[in-house]
């Protein structure tokens, strides 16, 4: 029985539970701690665990749209893509921040990037059960893709909040955040492209762990932009020398 005089349990702010609590409830505090090089070890450790758990569960959820082997495949690939993106983007974050007026130590920038990614992974973790349920209720492929994108968008906003607070007030805050987002989007897009597919149609018979390169993220972006403008790179017809039910064609429907 909880008495009226019972105080809420507040963990030590520098403990794992304390950092987790701050990451969720006081992201500004975590961001300032990263900038000032306080509790960095705990923040980095908790954020890494959050990224691993959150991205694995979210990946498995996306894989559940197809089911079977795609669940472990996506559960492995999503945290890989996220961590690879962070590893490749961190030097760019450091250099861009310095170039735009915030010459901070690399460890501070890495801690801030991990904290932001950790918070977004926690959001993905929270969204996963809802996403799994609506997938299970029979959502269509395009709606499923849109739902996953929306989840990413919400998680991205949670990360952006940490980054903006971490950059602090002052000249170039928004430009630096925009530069961070640009680099993260581009690198994340390419890293994810290399490790695709994640969302696969249930009717797909053959599921590759990763597909061949077939262009790249920028090529795909360019092709999508052109097709949105009504300019198509091909006429949409299936080549005569390719059978209609070939597995490769079915794989093309997956992302």
């Amino acid at each position: 029985m909880i008495g009226a005089d019972s105080a809420p349990i507040t963990p030590d702010p520098s403990s794992a539970a304390g950092v987790l609590r701050r990451l969720l409830r006081a992201p500004g505090d975590v961001a300032v701690a990263c900038r000032e090089d306080r509790d960095t070890h705990a923040i980095v450790a908790v954020s890494l665990v959050a990224i691993l758990v959150g991205a694995t569960v979210f990946g498995g959820t996306i894989g559940s749209f197809r089911g079977g082997r795609q669940i472990p495949y996506a559960a492995i690939k999503l945290p890989l893509a996220m961590l690879a993106t962070l590893a490749i983007s961190a030097p760019a974050f450091h250099a861009l921040a310095a170039g735009l007026g915030r010459a901070w130590p690399m460890r501070a920038v890495v801690a801030l990037a991990l904290a932001a990614a950790g918070r977004s992974a926690l959001v993905l973790l929270a969204i996963s059960p809802v996403l799994w349920l609506i997938y299970d209720l029979g959502l269509g492929y395009h709606a499923a893709s849109l739902a996953a994108s929306l989840a990413y968008g919400v998680a991205g906003l949670a990360a952006l909040g940490v980054v903006l607070r971490g950059l602090g007030e002052g000249a170039g805050q928004k430009l630096t955040a925009l530069a961070f987002a640009g680099v993260f989007f581009a690198v994340g897009g390419q890293a994810s492209w290399i490790l695709r597919p994640y969302l696969v149609r249930p009717r797909t018979e053959h599921i590759p762990f990763v597909r061949g390169l077939e262009g790249g993220f920028l090529d795909s972006l360019g092709r999508s932009t052109r097709s949105a403008a009504g300019v198509y790179d091909d006429d949409g017809r299936i080549p005569a020398d390719r059978p209609v039910d070939a597995p490769k064609l079915l794989d093309r429907d997956s992302q």
């Binding site: 450091h94 250099a95 007026g101 790249g216």
Partner: protein
């Protein structure tokens, strides 16, 4: 605010050896937030006095950092391409510093702008260091794109984007320092100086693009 740097016995700034802060001669918009001691802060820090050797070392560090971006671009073809790109990426920075900066100094002198050669030289060295630092930071991302993009055009686009962004950040830094130096000047002079630095920036972008597109194999230059 000003980044913390470590003055050495001979007056040079120690790279990565932070100590007592030095009061800035004239703070620029780039020194916006307090910085923890770091090698990066020392590389980009303003100093109260002009020491030619210190600025030369800073400029050389910028070129060295820019060369790492070249190495990343060379990863698409490998072999000799590593060396070619590593040599030609910093060459545009050298060209702008050697050809454009003296012209900027002369133009500002014709306007009778109160800015001396030492200020221009140190601002140029810091701009080169900033450009090199950003290029080095973008090098891993550039390597990812140039190695994994199937289409040569996509690899070239990614490489160009990094060069463009880093170049703009360097030019932004130089413009900000020139503006800060002219803060007390009459409004008309500041306007003319702003137009001059804008002209210089356009020239620098055109010159760098000319060098990179004609020299870097990835961008269609010599092979």
């Amino acid at each position: 605010m000003h980044a913390e740097v470590a003055p050495l016995a001979d007056g040079l700034i120690g790279f990565g050896a932070p100590a007592d802060p030095i009061a800035p001669a004239a703070p620029t918009p780039h020194a916006a937030l307090p910085a923890l001691p770091s090698a990066t802060a020392a590389l980009l820090a303003e100093a109260p006095d002009f020491v030619a050797s210190r600025e030369a070392v800073r400029f050389a560090k910028g070129l060295g950092l820019a060369a790492t971006y070249g190495v990343a671009l060379g990863a698409r073809h490998g072999g000799r391409s590593f060396l070619l790109h590593a040599a030609f990426v910093p060459s545009a920075i050298v060209a702008v510093a050697a050809v454009g900066v003296p012209a900027l100094y002369i133009a500002l002198g014709l306007l009778d702008a109160p800015i001396d050669h030492a200020r221009i030289a140190s601002a140029s060295a810091r701009a080169a260091a900033r450009t090199g630092l950003v290029l080095a930071g973008l090098a891993p991302a550039a390597a990812l794109f140039v190695v994994t993009s199937a289409a040569p055009g996509s690899a070239a686009l990614a490489a160009s984007a990094g060069l463009f962004v880093a170049g703009l950040i360097g030019l932004r830094s130089l413009r900000a320092e020139v503006s800060a130096a002219l803060e007390a000047a009459p409004a008309r002079m500041r306007l003319l100086a702003a137009l001059t630095t804008t002209g210089f920036s356009l020239f620098a972008v055109a010159l760098a693009a000319r060098i990179w597109t004609s020299a870097l194999p990835l961008l269609g230059g010599v092979r």
